[in-house]
């Protein structure tokens, strides 16, 4: 006799398909072609030159870790904020929906560069003194300013994510909550087990798009000299004349920066595509960008 455990429910969808592998091989081949053939033949420089990395290497690694740090800070923060704001926006309770609308419209309506400038110039004044003393006393004021600027970028992105989640919530038909209640589920159980899983699936594809934007937007922190990839690369160019750096390497530096952002955003969107596939459900597809 078969038991429930021995007779599994529907098998999960295949995550890594032939297409995934084809894509990956294409990207790697394209990258190799670019670095070893296109760049050397057209611009007469190679990205694998030891003397180039000897000078640029330290700047690159510091900058890359900075970028990782700001992505790791802003991405989760923006998802949490965006989700809460999107949820609040569809709330029937005005006290939730109205401030959420204001939040979305303000942070979506201002350029991230302006938000970053404001946050770095005046942000520290907004942090209550007790919090400054208690938690942030070990940091330099400049670093706190950059941290606040990063949070401003997260808030900008969260405004867009709030709209994604709002659309996700509104795409779930009203009958779903009604059916949940008719079964005797409490409203929060209907939310947990019926509405949110569907919202989540519908929001995943557009979220991947927004994540790519956010990762690239962290480069705006260079405007206030945050320690990240663009700023560090620019720093190097400042000391160039003294270091005997061939002029064509300026182009090499920015090519490396561009490729790095590309690899970062590409892997994040691909990773999300895997998630999408894992949770794929017939009837709950949304358009993938």
């Amino acid at each position: 006799m078969e038991t429930a455990a021995a007779f599994p429910l529907r098998a999960p969808p295949k995550l890594v398909t032939r297409l995934t592998i084809v894509h990956l091989v294409e990207m790697i081949l394209g990258g190799i072609l670019m670095v070893f053939v296109v760049l050397p033949s057209i611009f007469r420089f190679s990205l694998v030159s030891a003397s180039f990395w000897q000078i640029y290497g330290r700047f690159y690694v510091t900058g890359l870790f900075g970028t990782f740090f700001y992505v790791a800070l802003t991405l989760p923060l923006s998802v949490v904020l965006g989700f809460l704001m999107g949820w609040a926006r569809v709330s029937r309770i005005r006290v939730f929906s109205w401030p959420a609308s204001l939040y979305v419209n303000v942070f979506r309506g201002l350029p991230p560069l302006i938000l970053v400038i404001f946050a770095s110039l005046f942000g520290t004044n907004l942090v209550p003194q007790p919090i400054m003393d208690r938690f942030l006393s070990g940091f330099r004021r400049g670093d706190i300013a950059v941290g606040l600027a990063a949070i401003a970028i997260a808030m900008h992105s969260s405004a867009y994510q709030a709209e994604i989640f709002r659309a996700g919530f509104q795409s779930v038909p009203k009958g779903q909550q009604e059916a949940a209640q008719a079964l005797g589920l409490r409203p929060w159980q209907g939310m947990m087990h019926v509405i949110l899983p569907q919202t989540f699936r519908l929001s995943l594809p557009p979220l991947g798009n927004e994540f790519a934007v956010l990762i690239k937007d962290t480069s705006i922190l260079a405007a206030i000299s945050g320690t990240e990839l663009v700023a560090k690369s620019r720093d190097l160019l400042g000391i160039l004349p003294a270091s005997g750096f061939p002029i064509v390497w300026i182009f090499a530096v920015w090519t490396v920066v561009a490729l790095t952002y590309f690899v970062l955003t590409y892997s994040v969107t691909r990773g999300l595509r895997l998630l999408e596939r894992k949770f794929h459900t017939p009837g709950l597809e949304s358009i993938s960008l």
Binding site: G175, Q176, A182, V194, T281, G283
Partner: protein, 241 residues
């Protein structure tokens, strides 16, 4: 089993139910007919309190349920509901749709819930479809899963809100057959439908509603062949044609 006493319901300026009173005995199958906008769906929703009546009383198995101190969730476990648009949970397979209430509301262990759900799916003729998502099922199959989902809670009565109105003609039969079988097994049910064949063969009584009131009540023969009220006669002549 179910008693409704002088129910009134307004939606804003709209007076949807204007004093509805009726009784449903145990194992009885009642069919409610009437023009759209007459308040049939609202009446069903008042019984399981998806819609709260403005005034009047609803009794289920002798318990006055629309009063303070009675949890809505408890009431809804007593009466199952089947919707016009099925409302199956899109992200769950057929069997998961049936087990959700069992595990989350009744707190039944997963294995036992699966076992029970399999029996119910077999009962509505869908044992082979347990792993299909709603989008992979026909309308008729979805509605039968919805019936199994409602039955899983062991309700004392079942409410059907135009269960075949959204179906392509070829699927209506399979759903009505399941409902007729339920009625034969002694399930108490209230069905809003315009399926006259079903009303004639299965219903113990038919209520005709118009403009928020019960206009006439009687057996299929009374209502379809010898309606007393003009409004009943004119409605019946339209749907029987």
């Amino acid at each position: 089993m179910i008693r409704v006493e002088d129910i009134q319901k307004h939606f804003g300026a709209l007076h949807v139910l204007r004093g509805i009173t009726f009784d449903v005995q145990k194992a009885e199958a009642i069919v409610i007919i009437g023009p759209s906008g007459s308040g049939k769906s609202t009446l069903l929703r008042c019984i399981n309190l998806l819609v709260e009546p403005d005034s009047g009383k609803v009794f289920i198995d002798g318990v006055h349920v629309n009063r303070h101190g009675i949890r809505h969730e408890w009431v809804r476990q007593q009466v199952g509901m089947v919707f016009q648009s099925f409302n199956l949970f899109t992200h769950l397979t057929a069997i998961e749709n049936v087990t959700l209430g069992l595990t989350r509301v009744k707190g039944i262990p997963h294995d036992q819930a699966i076992e029970k759900a399999r029996k119910l799916l077999a009962r509505v003729g869908l044992a082979a479809k347990e792993n299909a998502y709603p989008a992979e099922l026909s309308g008729g199959q979805q509605q039968r899963v919805a019936i199994a989902r409602a039955l899983a809670m062991d309700p004392k009565a079942m409410l059907f809100d135009e269960p075949t109105s959204a179906l392509d003609p070829e699927y209506i039969r399979e759903v009505l057959d399941v409902m007729a079988a339920l009625a034969r097994e002694g399930m108490t049910m209230i069905v809003v439908t315009h399926e006259m064949g079903f009303a004639s063969n299965v219903a113990s009584r038919i209520l005709f509603m118009d403009a928020g009131k019960i206009i006439e009540e009687g057996t299929a023969e009374d209502i379809f062949q010898n309606p007393k009220e003009d409004r009943t006669r004119s409605f019946v002549s339209k749907i029987l044609r």
